[in-house]
Symmetry: C2
Subunit: 400 residues, 2 copies
């Protein structure tokens, strides 16, 4: 009998408890032994629940109980979560988490502490919610070098963009709708400014390239500036607008990593990923493109990924999974300005000057404005060429 | 240093060698030690190759070499492959394979022998080529009961159907085109009659439901009867025709498993899977729908999946991964006749008799024929109702 503890009884935490109850038989089969949650840590009063007697408010009860060999941290944030995770690992307990902020900022250190104590720190649920992505990447694709990762990594922004594209709803209204439906929080900054997607592309880059990518240093552009006009112009170019987290490997082992809205051609499998769904496309040098698709959030989906990690820890009790990356000292992240990409440019001004400044593949007039599809240029080069233009650049985005 | 052997130097076998060469550094990092192929078993003469000196024609050289702890079987077929796999496992060597026919028919026995000798038998590449599917299913989704699996599991038939749908090419011509492009073999029976997809849905069912599903007992219908007329009528109903391998779990733990062409609604992510691509949609009771997409075949893609399994064996030297299923004695497979589904029926005869016989949701006339979309009925019920009709049923397919 395995007796795990759950740190935090929010959406995911209560979901973890529910999955252990709902699928107890299947989980016992997979673990080779029954699994019964022993403690749930939360400061709030949950004594009315059928399992109210399992709640503790003092973390040290869990820390000091040798019967607890695996802990799931689903508190979120980095302060207490960081402290408790470290103390669990130091006490010889494996930890599984959905906390992308903690993994993105402290992953390297926590994996190192886990290694020192011969336990595991796993975080399948930190990217893509219930979509299997981390384990497939580091195990199933282990014999590949990763050329590129492209993902729709945030369900809230994808819901908003889908509303804009499908129903012609303006950004502010689509955001309000997302809040009403519970897809966006009261303070939506982390989603709409791309910070959430940024943490996720950092974690995927850490794994793909073997060194820590710092979310503070990764360029991150959200979707707040996108207008229905951009959506309509993208459509004219045979594209839809998606917020893409992207990591691209260079010949010398360095890499670009960033989050930005992109025009995605409608033929791409990423274009048809709608609403709160997520999808991650990975290009391996042997396997080619593979894509993983599903709901990137949600109580039971995310919880089931955390539970799967706990089963992995149980299977590997006293043994380490081979997950580790460098401390960032290799400085693999390239400045984004030099990354070459085709561009979409919406412009108000004389056509001749636009065509003289940029290698345009097509320029069309839409409602008195010019919409250009531009061949590959670095952002630095694009901006340099645009700066001297007489006229105004209304918007520009990379084309995937 | 790990020194594996490769059994068979066909497309996948030579690909495995190539991946080990091409990604040697990455593989050494993942394995924690360099990996260098020691033997390649093949009866043909490959002495002209740079690694020609590694070829052996006598299997016992590999069998008796204690330095070889992991073997990849990529010979195909069930006779020699079965014999050699068994002998490797009995000699304490782990075996990785892409051989779906062997896994589908002898998987339970070989997993049992592997267990008795504390080694592993892994087969990620047997379904979906380079697409991660088996490990995600049994590990990442381990905390789920599987409600349904729906997959486009065969690239050849998907290529043919895509040609029929996109370019209006008739079946026979599309098949010839697939042969010219190397997507179909000279004898295409195993692909176009659905046998290849059938083996794969059996393997997925074995894993999902924990008991052996016999390909001989699983109903299997190919795509040879599909006409351009069906393709056009499907389009009218907002659908495309796809060959789907399907497994559906019932309340009591029994399951349906079968392969048949289906009408797939265009909104479904499966509808946009084209050409030789494969995709597998899995519905877990906690995680909801997740989909895995990529090239389901191809030399390096399939090879990289075999190599990843070999890395897993190296990591778990002397330890068993928890993969096992029953010997089929639980008789989980339900007779397909009782499986209820909505139907597409193309009919020539009086409209009144069709509407009297079937619960039609819509009936439209197309070129003097009737095309009906029918609410859920079992196949037995559908056939019983159709048998008494005056007129002729031109085709019928399930709607997904």
């Amino acid at each position: 009998m395995i007796k795990p503890a759950i740190l935090g009884h929010g959406t995911v935490g209560s979901g973890v408890y529910e999955v252990f109850e709902m699928n107890a038989e299947k989980i016992a089969r997979a673990a080779g032994t029954p699994v019964e949650v022993k403690y749930v840590l939360d400061l709030r009063d949950f004594s009315h629940l059928p399992y109210g007697n399992k709640f503790v408010s003092d973390f040290s009860v869990i820390e000091n109980d040798p019967e607890v060999t695996v802990v799931c941290e689903v508190m979120g944030g980095v302060r207490a979560a960081y402290d408790f995770t470290k103390r669990c690992l130091e006490a010889g307990k494996s930890v599984c988490t959905s906390n992308k902020e903690l993994v993105a900022t402290k992953g390297e250190e926590l994996l190192r502490i886990a290694e020192e104590h011969n336990v595991n720190y796993l975080f399948e649920a930190s990217v893509g919610g219930g979509i299997p992505i981390i384990r497939p990447m580091i195990q199933c694709l282990a014999a590949n070098e990763f050329n590129q990762i492209c993902g729709i990594l945030n369900g809230t922004t994808n819901y908003i963009l889908t509303q804009m594209i499908k129903n012609g709803v303006a950004f502010e209204d689509a955001l309000r709708q997302a809040q009403v439906n519970g897809y966006a929080e009261a303070d939506p900054t982390a989603d709409i400014e791309g910070h959430d997607a940024c943490r996720k592309i950092c974690i995927l880059s850490d794994l793909a390239f073997g060194d820590q990518f710092d979310p503070e240093e990764v360029c991150c552009e959200g979707i707040t500036a996108i207008t229905l006009k951009d959506v309509a112009c993208a459509d004219r170019l045979g594209c839809v607008i998606k917020l893409i987290g992207r990591a691209v490997r260079c010949e010398d082992g360095t890499a670009y990593a960033f989050v930005a809205p992109h025009l995605v051609r409608k033929e791409s499998p990423l274009a048809s990923v709608e609403d709160v769904f997520n999808a991650i496309m990975i290009e391996g040098n042997a396997t080619g493109d593979v894509m993983f698709y599903g709901k990137g959030a949600g109580k039971l989906a995310t919880a089931s990924a955390v539970c799967a990690d706990m089963l992995d820890c149980i299977e590997h009790q006293g043994r380490r999974r081979r997950i580790q990356w460098g401390d960032g000292s290799r400085k693999l992240l390239r400045p984004l300005g030099s990354f070459a990409s085709p561009w979409y440019v919406r412009f108000h001004g004389p056509r001749a000057s636009l065509e003289a400044a940029l290698p345009c593949e097509s320029v069309r007039e839409v409602d008195g404005e010019l919409v250009a599809s531009v061949s590959a240029l670095s952002a630095d080069e694009l901006n340099a060429r645009l700066s001297g233009l007489s006229g105004s650049v209304l918007s520009s985005m990379r084309i995937l």
